[in-house]
Symmetry: D3
Subunit: 238 residues, 6 copies
């Protein structure tokens, strides 16, 4: 099968890191094509960036089916444009946040999300209300490590050292039992962090790719059916 993976930003280094990680975990019969979102910011670090990457993502989504793809992965931890993308195509569209949180929820009682430091502005990737809504009582918090998004793919040793430090503290102080790496950029460090802390660590890109493979295998895709409190409607004849 062929899976299109859309890195929501335009940083070529991050795209290459994601590609390398997914080549490693994909099934032999899966082809992975990792692309950028044209016109997006180099990194998604604010709510404004999150809006600015949308047109490029939807452009890639719109062309996926005719390009022979079987499934799409949105590789940004904000799951940007997920609802709109699902209106544009009937291919399965997997967001890395949802895929990684739901896999992590099966591995232990309390799940902690580790995110880069995007400064003081609001960033949907770290919206604790959304994380809380998805994980419910299993949510053990969202912890910031001291590197910006750009750093996640440029200083492997420094990032890993900080991930280990923050994860250990969260396990000790906040009973975290499972970790999710909350950025497409440092999913490749999941294995190393897991070995260091001795607790399960889920990389979001890998989790999403495996979910895409599962959906294709099982013949499943999403639905865009509307969610309204009541669908009661006055009859035509009224």
């Amino acid at each position: 099968m062929r899976v299109l993976v859309i890195n929501a930003n335009t940083d070529p280094v991050m795209t290459q890191v994601i590609r390398k990680e997914l080549e490693r975990v994909k099934r032999p019969d899966t082809q992975v094509e990792v692309v950028n979102a044209p016109g997006a910011p180099q990194f998604i670090e604010t709510a404004l960036h999150d809006v600015q990457c949308l047109p490029g993502i939807l452009e890639q989504v719109g062309a996926a089916k005719e390009n022979g793809m079987d499934a799409i992965v949105l590789a940004c931890f904000t799951d940007p444009a997920l609802d709109a993308a699902r209106e544009l195509t009937d291919l399965p569209v997997v967001g890395i946040q949802a895929a990684s949180l739901f896999l992590a929820a099966q591995l232990g009682r309390r799940v902690c999300v580790l995110v880069p430091d995007t400064g003081v502005k609001y960033v949907p990737a770290c919206d604790v209300d959304v994380l809380q809504s998805k994980l419910g009582p299993q949510f053990a918090g969202c912890e910031v490590i001291g590197v910006p998004v750009s750093g996640t793919v440029r200083d492997q040793d420094g990032v890993l050292r900080q991930l280990i430090e923050v994860a250990r503290r969260s396990a000790a102080d906040n009973r975290a039992a499972v970790f999710v790496l909350g950025c497409a950029g440092f999913g490749y460090l999941a294995g190393a962090l897991q070995r260091a802390v001795g607790l399960p660590v889920v990389g979001p890109d890998a989790a999403a790719l495996k979910t895409a493979e599962t959906l294709v295998d099982l013949g499943l895709s999403h639905t865009v059916r509307q969610d309204i409190g009541s669908t009661s409607r006055p009859r035509e004849s009224d």
Copy 2:
């Protein structure tokens, strides 16, 4: 004071209806300027539309301060781009959904939101999770009336008749005690619906304009401070 009101779509009829309603309820010393979002769809009826109106809204937001505005109202019930807009400007930015829900919550125990019929696709304006999160135990559901968004400003008698019917049913069957009109297009019908059903009805555009006036009076604006579970960060020296 001067308040910029951005109708998120490009329908000139709706813009005119909103303008007329706000001229009626504004304070004598308030100037209201109602504009469209350039390049947006004519109506916002799907998740895709909701993405497509964002650039035009942000263009209007970005120019507001230098155009001498004191506050901004986003006049679409999805409160589109609210977070991004607040990063672009330090003027108070008021969303009509938030403003109307929080005013309604002060008028009775259970609040029901009435929305146009946008078909079977997901529409953020009717996302019951968001409404539930804002209203908590006061949320009494979201009810669909049998007219599309375009109809809200083009068939006053028909829309009002359906609003009355659905509101009465919701009061009888679901203990709704307060109503919010969940579309910028039919806020002008709040008074007529209130008279018909004998329960409070909040029009979203008017509620947002009065909130904007309040914020300017009190010298208040929003903050974009980031919301993360933990702000603990490794020290520089680590």
Copy 3:
């Protein structure tokens, strides 16, 4: 319009402080009349006090309409007697807790309530369940400053110094982004605290007065419709 503001206690200093603050923020065409609740305790600092102020409040409420009032503000952060007052009159009755929480919720993601130190007894003004229910996931906690209620209006410099200290700590440790001053007595310090901490601060008396003005402008009032899980009733003929 004429707005009756009922200070739930009998402290004349607090009444004067509230009056002065509201004269400052009211619209030019609003007349504000600030009164005490006859027979109430000098300060409301326990659950018992909260009961003892009720008869005096209801006496004032009952006379408001014939005294030519257009709206009523209950100026005690417990919103005492709000439900009973709304049965006594069809004038809009605004509680300062509800008004300030819902305004604050529109200004940022996490709202912190700052309250005076009323000792170890239960005080409804600080009931975190009620605050949590109104603010939902936006509630960032209730913080005590080291002055009793009487002190809020008698030692401006000392109170402000403590408000600043506690607010800064709450922003640093608990990600508070917006503050509500949880006592009618120190609403007058909202502006000074906001300047000191650089985050929005809502004064409850001012927020309630502006809400009262809004309700009168929009022709809105409360409803006392009963909130029961089921209204199904056996038919008369059974």
Copy 4:
């Protein structure tokens, strides 16, 4: 032991019905004294009534210890003045709502509360938010039967017939598995209703009396320790 039971209203018929029921279920060595709240309304059917019964209740509470009582039961399903009463005395004070809900929660998964018809006004006894907060996911709704509070003690056959009808419907339509009789007035019908519907039925007066006996046996009483989000306080020396 001696238990003071305060009927919050002034209806002598209801007081006599409660007394008779409690004489039946009390332990041999318990003395039950059932009194009215002086100055209260004849029945508690609105939020205003709920305020008006408070002074009389507190008068009775204040005199209980010197009258040789060992515990106090507040016999009105709104648990009126519970917090204030607990500040007035260190005797155990039991509310019939809390006692009956928590006993019912141990008997099955979903608990339904049956209440008299108090009309369209808000009545705290039927506040579904409070019931929901106490029962959490076990709350199966609050159902109204077609008799006023006065009727509960004056037409035994008619009330029982309606209780049976509503309870059966709630079990069939809403999966109710346990019932609580939500008024001090018809607790005496618990046994008859249980026999008729074949599911557990908790009478609130009896549940509260047994809870009072338990507390005295175990040497337990309440605490009035304050519940605030943070107890952090600036030091005196600051």
Copy 5:
């Protein structure tokens, strides 16, 4: 009446401690028979132990009625096999966790559960989701004291010293106002801990025994009615 109390483990010392405590608090006319669960582990300290004690418990439950018992108490803080036990018998079956939490919830606003140290494995007795679900907003956390389950009945002075230390810290740091002793083994220390900390302390065995007495007095028992979201079923004729 005769009450069968099943200590879920096979430690004879703990059985003897429970028996002594219950002899002290039972009513004069109650006979208490405390037994072990045959074949269970000596202590219940892991999820695996929790499974291993089930057959023995159910064996005791199955024989209770013909042995002339009137009610059953399951004396392990995980409330093991409660649902299954209730299918085996129509005698009232009381779990010590449920009984003690619901009694504690009536004594103050925030309830803290104190548990022995069972190591790093999951133990249902300390499942904060279950405790949270039962106590709702009143849950103030679950605190571990530094003794294993075996120690609770073998080192009274050491255990009490640690209980006092942890309870005081929880009251100071986390606003705990009521304590529940979360293990059948140290319920006998409730009185001593209460005297030391000056806040109510509920022993789970005693609370459950009094609840069993109450249920027998009131003619109440549980129901096993199924809890499903919908009971709608296709008609036979479909």
Copy 6:
């Protein structure tokens, strides 16, 4: 890789149906071994059955690693013994309830669980609190179809007809957008139901097998780290 699938009951027909379904969806390089739980009831339809299947499941789990297995699937929708199994082995253990719910949550907004009719007793597979806790606001209810567990694998046409009828009704009346088949016995009907209703349908056995494959691919397993509100422990020296 080799995956052990444990059918929690002893019905050979169901085991064969599960085996056939999993052979269809497994990857070419996966070996699936489907076994029964020795000594379990023929079907799991009550809380008592749910206890009785535990020893047989744990026996199979305990032998899995030395039998060369790489992962284990517990094929009963109650996820019986999941916590205990995870203490017995460090192989990944996947429950079909958790795996199917979390996959379904990624396919649409509201998830409905369809279960067989197990009569009026409590069955953990249909515990709406557990389903609600896992799915949060996405939970759209649990619907019963009119066949017992035994029927799910013995009358394909009749079961499918009822699944279609109930699913259509749930979509129309309750806005269900995604379905989970809540029994190991009828997972094989997911495809046929999906084609009939035009909405995604997740079969639990297949979802769990794919999750097991994913965990092995990614080198992930569970953790049994304890979940306690506080891990604060007195120091050794105290």
